[in-house]
Amino acid sequence: MSGSKPDILWAPHHVDRFVVCDSELSLYHIESAASPEPKAGSLRLSEETAATLLSINSDTPYMKCVAWYPKYDPECLLAVGQANGRVVLTSLGQDHNSKSKDLIGKEFVPKHARQCNTLAWNPLDSNWLAAGLDKHRADFSVLIWDISSKYAPEAAVTTEKVRLSAADPEGGLVVTKPLYELGQNDACLSLCWLPRDQKLLLAGMHRNLAIFDLRNTSQKIFVNTKAVQGVTVDPYFHDRVASFYEGQVAIWDLRKFEKPVLTLTEQPKPLTKVAWCPTRTGLLATLTRDSNIIRLYDMQHTPTPIGDETEPTIIERSVQPCENYIASFAWHPTSQNRMVVVTPNRTMSDFTVFERISLAWSPVTSLMWACGRHLYECTEEGKASSLEKDIATKMRLRALSRYGLDTEQVWRNHLLAGNEDPQLKSLWYTLHYILCLAQYTEDMDQKLTGNKGPLVYAGIKSIVKSSLGTTENLRQSRSGSDRQADIIQYLSEERSLALQLCGWIKKGTDLDVEPFLNSLEQEGDWERAAAVALFNLDIRRAIQILNKGASSGKGDLNLNVVAMALSGYTDEKNSLWREMCSSLRLQLNNPYLCAMFAFLTSESGSYDGVLYENNVAVRDRVAFACKFLSDAQLNRFIEKLTNEMKEAGNLEGILLTGLTKDGVDLMESYVDRTGDVQTASYCMLQGSPSDVLKDERVQYWIENYRNLLDAWRFWHKRAEFDIHRSKLDPSSKPLAQVFVSCNFCGKSISYSCSAIPHQGRGFSQYGVSGSPTKSKVTSCPGCRKPLPRCALCLINMGTPVSSCPGRTRSFEVIHL
């Protein structure tokens, strides 16, 4: 101050008033100014507020520091510390009631004049005013004055010695005897009372911070530090204190006062003010010289600092309330995060520091965010909304409906998933066929030795590759037509395996598609059935299917028209039929109908119209390709299609890739696209051999899905998943956690037997493996005493009696 930089103080209770002090004290009244035109004489502080100057007090020259009386009444009582160390009570305008009349003008004079650096009112006993002074060799630097004390009589005795130059006319107003004197031969730079006790005073002395206890003034706790400026106690955490030195703020915990619990990043310029926000916990504002930025340090997430090791995290922010340099700032005592700043030329600005917004997703798709003291929750609106449900919602519903857990009829899982996603449907059918074939080939393997097993899992792409050169051609006409046509079909063992995977034919070597057609008819999928029939060169069957479809209840009458068109099929290359069909087919909405005419009108060997009809299911296109494409063409087509599927993350492509590394790649792009780790986990768990399970991506999906289930608190679902997983992936089985221990020696039966390998007996020999055919041990391998008894029949375990109903149960325990 002293004419240089203005400081600013909010009234502690009359929250619409503040004082700006430089060489004089100016009281302002702040009010909201809704109108864009400010009232005459008022200063605009922000878009909403303006301040009016109420009064000016220039009675006190050489002001060094000012402190506002902390109690409600008298209202505008201020203590001013002067350059000569005197502390003067003064007031601003306003009605002088009797209480303040006695006080105003009162002076508190130290024995030796030197600058008064700081003032602090005791928050509990508001008669106590602490003043911090510069050093004097023989005097005290912390003086606590009692503002209610009268002119000290003992001082009057020594009047002849007192040659007070300003022999005060209002003698009763000068107090020279402080209540307490502390800090002899030291300097005091900053002060604050500790809220813990009325008689505890924290002082920033020369090179140390000291806590004075007025109950015993001969004792003080102190710590040597340079950070002695601006001590201030956190209003929300009374053991936390901030102080600063040049550009560095130190945060102290009074319970562990040896050194700062943390220091904030050093600023290049010296700090001028550090203040805790009175309305938010752990928010510290700092200001440096020649800066238009106020830095805020958010220690909200700092738990009570404990020990040296835990360096708490602080979030640093800065606000720039105005263009000019800021001389000082003051937090509003009650209005949240609000402060007024003042610039050296006394322009002021009122603003509110915007609260950090923290945001969190709940695991069930609702969103929470907090701003200041407000907490908002956003939830997904109306289930009937046209927007597709979030994948998390879908996964959650699917988990509830036991999606993925149907291991008997694997294809049914798509129904559990809601039967709305064609890709999932395709995926689960693919997995179904793979598992059926794997089972079948395994059964076959017991009789014949073959190696189709792994091939089944490897997908059509690998199957087709392996079929190179084994293919037989078969010329066949489209049955029902009169002319011989040269349509070449290809056959091989692998191709028929592929067709089985596509679901066109049943397992075994039977090439009959009739069961498949029947099942399609049952589902009312007339167009697809017709197309499959046609691709199997049975036009009559196709027409028959279409007719059936047209006549069925909900069928489309147009199917009859299509049937008519089909029946007109001619092989004639230049016929009108062919010409019209090839152009008009494009107008058909149904992709299968379209593909049918494409097939009929195409040249032999070039079926692009069918193969690249993207709306036809991949499995049908692949089955078609397996029938009609030569080895080279087939390979090229499959390769191309596989890559497309992988890129798009289309689950239909699992048919091609199988559960291989390619399949994981495809699944990866699917997961990238949808986030559906649930399907990915369940799908990959079916993989065998378990190579794919070792892929770290797969493990990652599985772990994420488990975490997701945990986050939803679906503990049972997660347990079910773990059981399901351990069945399919034995390596994920958790280690045994329950053992049977011997009653006598306390050792685990299984442990002791595996721990004594020199006996040459395996684990199963002790009967704990549960196989009844193997020899059993009836005594503990450790101490040779009998094994524990069955709780129900009281027969010792391992006793070869099969009639005991409880026995198997006790073995189950061992199995755990």
Partner: protein, 269 residues
């Protein structure tokens, strides 16, 4: 920073500054301040251990200067009574004294130190401070007083034990704190509202120690002045300069002090 000059004489050793910080064990009741306060605890023990000290009292505090080579002795001597800190980069670091405590000579039977004559000029002094930010306001007066107001010293006739007046002006600026010791005549030249002093505005008389330049090696000079004053509880400022030492005592106490010191002089001679 000063250029070497043939006109400048420099004492040949490096001096370290000791400053006594009160530890809060307030000497309540003891009104005497300054050198008096530390006479028994610091000055006397150092004198006993033959450590030569210089003193510099300011408005704010007292500094004791000791030679760097004497530091181990100083630390050892004072460790019993004080916690000793060394200032490193502004942080106070405790100095351990164990490593230097062994093998030190016990104080030899104190050879009775030379008793120096004391003189007391007639002028009255005041000790004041100035707020650092008002220093520019007194700069011209300060420069005038320091460099351009030299009146030839009016020495009293040889043999006279009392100086008439002495020209003495001490200005120090230590760690941002300003301290000025000057006589009342000089003080009148400064704007009075900028000078800060004690509320009683007490005035001081000077005792100058030494008939001829004291040198830097002799020990016990401060002690022989400070100890008698401490015994009778009279405050004193003590300022050592290149040639002489000066003690400032309260105006009212000067006759007692002179009497005391003269008696001492007589008793030793």
């Amino acid at each position: 920073e000063l250029p070497p000059s043939e006109f400048m004489q420099v004492a040949d050793s490096t001096w370290l500054v000791l400053s006594v910080v009160s530890s809060g064990r307030a000497s309540s009741g003891c009104q005497a301040t300054g050198v008096t306060k530390i006479a028994k605890s610091v000055i006397a023990p150092l004198a006993e251990h033959h450590v030569s000290v210089l003193m510099l009292s300011t408005y704010q505090t007292d500094f004791v200067l000791v030679r760097e080579k004497d530091l181990p002795v100083v630390i050892n001597t004072l460790a019993g009574e004080f916690d000793i800190y060394k200032e490193e980069n502004g942080e106070s670091v405790p100095v351990s004294h164990d490593d230097v405590s062994n093998g030190f000579l016990k104080p030899k039977a104190a050879a009775s130190p030379t008793v120096h004559p004391v003189q007391s000029p007639q002028n009255r002094f005041c000790i004041v401070t100035v707020a650092p930010d008002t220093l520019p306001a007194i700069a011209t007066v300060l420069i005038d007083v320091l460099f351009y107001s030299h009146s030839p010293p009016k020495e009293a006739g040889p043999g006279s034990q009392d100086l008439d007046t002495i020209t003495f002006f001490a200005f120090s600026l230590i760690e941002g704190y300003i301290s000025i010791v000057m006589d009342v005549e000089t003080q009148k030249r400064f704007p009075s509202d900028l000078l800060l002093t004690s509320s009683t505005e007490e005035l001081w008389r000077m005792v100058r120690i030494g008939g001829q330049p004291l040198g830097f090696d002799e020990c016990g000079i401060v002690a022989q002045i400070a100890e008698p004053l401490a015994t009778v509880d009279i405050s004193a400022y003590y300022i050592s300069t290149f040639n002489f030492d000066h003690a400032l005592v309260p105006e009212e106490g000067i006759s007692e002090v002179i009497g005391l010191l003269r008696r001492r002089q007589e008793s030793s001679s």
